[in-house]
Symmetry: C3
Subunit: 266 residues, 3 copies
């Protein structure tokens, strides 16, 4: 654990909270490493059913620290790239993690903070949360997958405007655009994300990791490739102890108990 | 023809209706074969202008038969794959068929039933129709292209929630999400789909088969590849008897008569 | 400059206006060449900050000239392809131009006119503008990227209906579908597009050209490829004079002055 990241467990849910309150939870290399490590540990821990990513003190994350970014110009292009890959490794860790990751967003999600929120599998946002592709305002360009993730639900025309102007989107507008799973009043993002995470954590863990993998490839894979991925997952799932329990429960009109199937070491 | 599939002709329109009412039109290997064969026959029959796919008894299709699926665990992975390819061959047959296929959905479109409805070129749905990515509830994972087709109009965040929770979508919600061509009152899906099919069947058959092909690749092709596909279709269409009739009719301010150009054997 | 294209400068903004009013701004090979040349010149002119593409006399563009298209059947397939590539070169020129191109649409944007409007980076449309994938009505198939551009914001089901029926979309409906940056009353498209262009032209020119490039690949690139593209742009931007000015201005709580950084020869 690191000072910049608070981690705690609530039942099957792991909560990761950005804790750089004085700088509205600006990012740092230390934070990248801490979250990436926490996600890697959670991936191999069967007692973790779902993960919530949030921020302390009313902001999700204000993005890169401009004082640090200003110094990058003194570095070689290769050295800059190494620093940037810290962020991109984090983004890849969120996408590759076999457990569902839910972002709980209050306040600012700006620059790479927006990228991090949108990399998550699901999004709970306060109505007045403020998502901003801020880069252009300081002469920079988007990173962290911001353009990839926004393009999944806005038109190219709107994406271009957002990136060329840095105009903010409220949580409410993000919901209208289709990217928000639960839109809540200010202050309720974390408890709502926790309730969603608790519910999802009851599901079949192996099947859910395959489902996350299917969902992250679904938009850009060719139909041929996606059918192949679906087929591979399904023939495996047909032989799993999870589908044994699930189908048996359904045919006997009872609720399935998937939690018992986890090899929890505790 | 098979007991599980009713087929009939109404003018230029071929109607294929799922007929396994006792099991809310659950799928079977027999059904896959029957629909795939019917689509293949229609592809080479110039008298068929459009196809409507629907279900008897108030449900489109409740998906896989869980009693049958439960037995798949006794099969080898390879044998399971063979059964699954029956479904995927059907999905490919819908996509590859040169004629427009319109789904008319009442009641349940669950699991692979949802996949089949969304594989069609157009969708007519009753407001209270119920679309469900049901798999996770029984410990399984989506197949039939469900994740590919849903990703064409919902965000990754919403796709993930639908697939991880199995929460249903009403016809009305599917319409709000942009996937429904005609939203109708309960009981009106088939007549509305028929009217749409009759209208479309009057169009230029060769051009329409190229248009269907363009539309199914449009979202995932690179711009370069899609421009190439458009160019190939267009230079062919510029020499067709259909564009001869169409342009001539337009310049003479009359309705084109494309139907006369079909080599109907009847 | 050509009779079919009016060009003028207003400050940092280049205005290109389709001027074939007698034929509702139908397209011609001469027009393709004129716009492609104008975009190429603007690309290397640092005094051009943004481009507005519009049409004279109340229509954006009614598409191909049917009397000319009717004669194409007398050409070989290869000769037809050469003519078509004139249009596709224009579309590629809009996409490849490093400056933001804003379409200002009143009245008809039909056939390849729709393609041209949708190829632009941003779209300002009058509520009663009329976008039509008209091809099917005369037995032809879409070109100019129409299917690629529409698929960026409508479902495959709606795309197929639009292309199979040629049904028009109002500016208002295009806005509901998410493709319109500014929806305006009839007659206000050009002044609104100009105001947007003037505002955008104040931005950091190098960063904006990278942003346009990111936005046009964002939807179809894999996440891996898009992260790579973002990283390449960002490490370059971190060393630019634009980010030096932008970050310095931000830290000193003043507005950045990016315009001074352009090497304007005038």
């Amino acid at each position: 654990m690191s000072h910049t990241l608070l981690t705690r467990r609530e039942g099957d849910v792991l909560v990761l909270s950005n804790n750089n309150v004085a700088a509205r939870n600006a990012l740092s290399f230390e934070f990248y490493i801490a979250v990436t490590d926490a996600l890697r540990d959670a991936a191999s821990d069967p007692s973790v059913g779902a993960i919530v990513l949030t921020g302390e003190g009313g902001h999700f994350c204000s993005g890169g620290d401009l004082r640090q970014l200003a110094k990058r110009r003194e570095l070689s292009v290769q050295e800059r790239r190494v620093r940037l890959e810290g962020l991109h490794d984090l983004i890849r860790a969120v996408r590759d993690c076999p457990k569902p990751v839910i972002a709980a967003v209050e306040g600012a999600a700006a620059g790479a903070g927006l990228s991090l929120a949108m990399a998550c599998d699901m999004l709970v946002a306060a109505k007045d949360a403020k998502f901003t592709v801020a880069y252009v305002k300081v002469g920079l360009t988007p990173d962290g997958g911001a353009t990839a993730f926004l393009a999944e639900f806005v038109s190219r025309q709107v994406l271009t405007e957002l990136c060329l102007t840095g105009a903010p989107l409220s949580g409410e507008r993000m919901h209208d655009l289709g990217a928000v799973n639960r839109l809540v009043e200010s202050g309720s993002a974390l408890p709502t994300a926790m309730a969603l995470a608790v519910d999802i954590a009851k599901g079949p863990q192996k099947a859910m990791s395959h489902i996350k993998n299917l969902c992250r490839h679904a938009m850009r894979n060719s139909l041929k490739d996606q059918l192949e991925l679906e087929a591979q997952s399904m023939v495996e799932a047909m032989g799993s102890d999870e589908s044994l329990e699930g189908i048996h429960a359904f045919l006997n009109k009872r609720q399935p108990n998937f939690s018992q199937l986890r090899q929890v070491s505790e």
